[in-house]
Amino acid sequence: MFFYYLKLGAVNLKRNPIITALMVITLAVGVAAAMTTLTILRGMSGDPIPHKSDRLFYVQIDSGPIGRESASGDPDPQLTYADTMNLWRAAKAPRQTPLMGTSGTISPERKDLAPFLTTGLAVGSDFFTMFDVPMLEGQAWTGAQDKAGADVVVITRALRNRMFGENQSAVGKRLTLSQRELTIVGVLDTWNPLPKFYRLVGSNRYGNHEDYFVPIEYAVRVESGIEGQVSCTSRPDPGFKGFLDSDCTWLQYWVELGRADDRQGYLDYLGAYVDEQKKLDRLPRPINNRVSDVMAWMERQGVIDNDTVVATWLAFAFLGVCLVNTVGLLLAKFSARPGEIGVRRALGASRSEIFSQFLTEAGVIGLVGAGLGIALTIAALAYVRQYAQDIALLTEMDLVMLFATIAISLTAALGAGLLPTWRACQVLPAAQLKSQ
């Protein structure tokens, strides 16, 4: 009977075409508003690396001077060079990586390409394994190259295509970066996690993914330019060495632990480290270390924009208003058919069969509304993409959101159809048949 009801639902779309069109449009607009904001919210709040987000930890040490603590009591989001390197060299976690934003000018060998400025990351070799960075060809540099600060680089597929052309191997070739020649050891496959959880400080969280990756020791050795946030509580001594020795915080640090439960052990280690540093007249504040897993770090960094949360609530409230209107329109549509209901009842339809038929009809309206809603959502996301570049990458509607749109539209239509359908079931057939 379900397919019979579906067929009837499709046939009855043509009945009262104006009311039907109004219902579909009302539903579609409400669904599109809700799904547009939800798509963006999902992009912001989703777990970007679900299978290991509870084992990847962002490390903070409260390294500033006494008397200049933040109002929230939180430690600085970044580390000093000294602490970063101490932790990294100690290598107490199964995997760990410092992380520093950098930039440089690439001079292509091709004569038709002008030199261009681009951004990159200086990291440890564990970075690629820790964050499941997919390799298209080649591999990350070795631990030895890490320590030596070797002249090696991993580039993205996009940069490879730009420099050497698509489907051209780049591994082993040379890349001139800020007038220094580096050997390309690996090429990343497309990798644009959203939000850019591995670098939430001092960078666009929803885009501008880096083009190249170099060993951090290399970046320090060549005094590479820093891209990102630098925070100092006192003026550093002159020169790059002075900067490295200063209390400025500008590096980020991640560790991957074997199990989520190992977090406390690592915190204990950090506590011991701070105690050691205090003996060297460093880190004067009371111990206030933080080890946050991916989701906790994203929450701490306010990745989910409050405006988006409010907008999503408002959009769903708007969908509610649309549903109330749809209820009214469905009541009008169904109340015009007591004669048909009477006939069907006389011919053997039970109340439950009438209920199923009319609810299915509401579902068909929901499906059509979903179709239009998807089109409107895609259009709205395109509009957002055009006018809000910083969240442009969050405006892609994937399959999950596509099916969610259909499900929400269908659920909304069925919900809106309950009252009108119940009313349709109350029609007394005898009264209607005589009046026809």
């Binding site: 069907r344 007394l428 057939p429 026809q436």
Partner: protein, 233 residues
């Protein structure tokens, strides 16, 4: 086929009780053609609605093909209505958005027949009323007489034991009415019991038996001869 014992129907509001039927006793045998007559407001339609399980009676018993329908729930009544009864209405009551095939298909869907069986029955029923060629037409494309024939086909498609007709020729001109009446007689001749409400004494006279309802009470007559009716106890 239809047996009612002291059947009554009372409509109650906050202030008023209206006795539409008062202790009706009637026994319609299989294959009978019974005309139900009476003045407006006498209770004919209420009687037909109760006979058709569209309304519940408030007193007495009603047996349809041996089944006591008193106390049956909506699903059971609907099932019984679908299997045992066919309806023909004065206003035809076809569904305007469905073509003839789909209109006749309605009761068969609720019966749960498979597609092949439904098609066979629909084609047979429409052939019986002479509308095979119009199977894809919509009701609005037919005359009143043709629409009533479709309604008859719809009623017949499920092979009901009883056909309930409420003023089946009330909206038709004389010629069309005659055609419909002849069709009903032919159906009755094949063994289907017919209970027909009518205002028209001429049509009533063509039935084998007349039931006259006045103020919710029944006077039951059996036609003994062509021109005379004899009251029965």
């Amino acid at each position: 086929m239809i047996r009612m014992n002291k059947l009554s129907k009372v409509y109650r509001t906050h202030m008023i009780e209206t006795h539409a039927l008062r202790g009706i006793e009637i026994d319609v045998q299989p294959g009978e053609f019974v005309a139900v007559t009476g003045p407006s407001g006498s209770g004919k339609t209420t009687f037909l609605n109760i006979a058709g399980l569209l309304e519940e009676h408030t007193g007495g018993d009603y047996f349809l093909d041996g089944v006591n329908v008193t106390g049956l729930n909506d699903n059971q009544r609907s099932r019984l209505r679908n299997e045992k009864l066919g309806f023909i209405f004065q206003g035809f009551n076809l569904i305007p958005d469905l073509n003839l095939f789909d209109n006749v298909d309605v009761p068969l869907r609720y019966r749960g027949f498979n597609a092949a069986e439904r098609r066979r029955r629909i084609e047979e029923a429409l052939a019986q009323v002479g509308l095979s060629a119009r199977i894809k037409h919509y009701p609005s494309e037919l005359s009143g007489g043709q629409q009533q024939r479709v309604a008859i086909a719809r009623a017949l498609a499920g092979s009901p034991k009883v056909l309930l007709a409420d003023e089946p020729t009330g909206n038709l001109d004389t010629q069309m009415a005659r055609g419909v009446m002849e069709l009903l007689e032919e159906i009755n001749a094949r063994g289907t019991t017919i209970l027909m409400v009518t205002h028209d004494p001429e049509l009533a006279a063509r039935a084998a038996r007349n039931v006259h309802i006045v103020d919710g009470l029944v006077t039951d007559f059996v036609r003994r001869e062509a021109a005379s009716l004899v009251a029965v106890a």
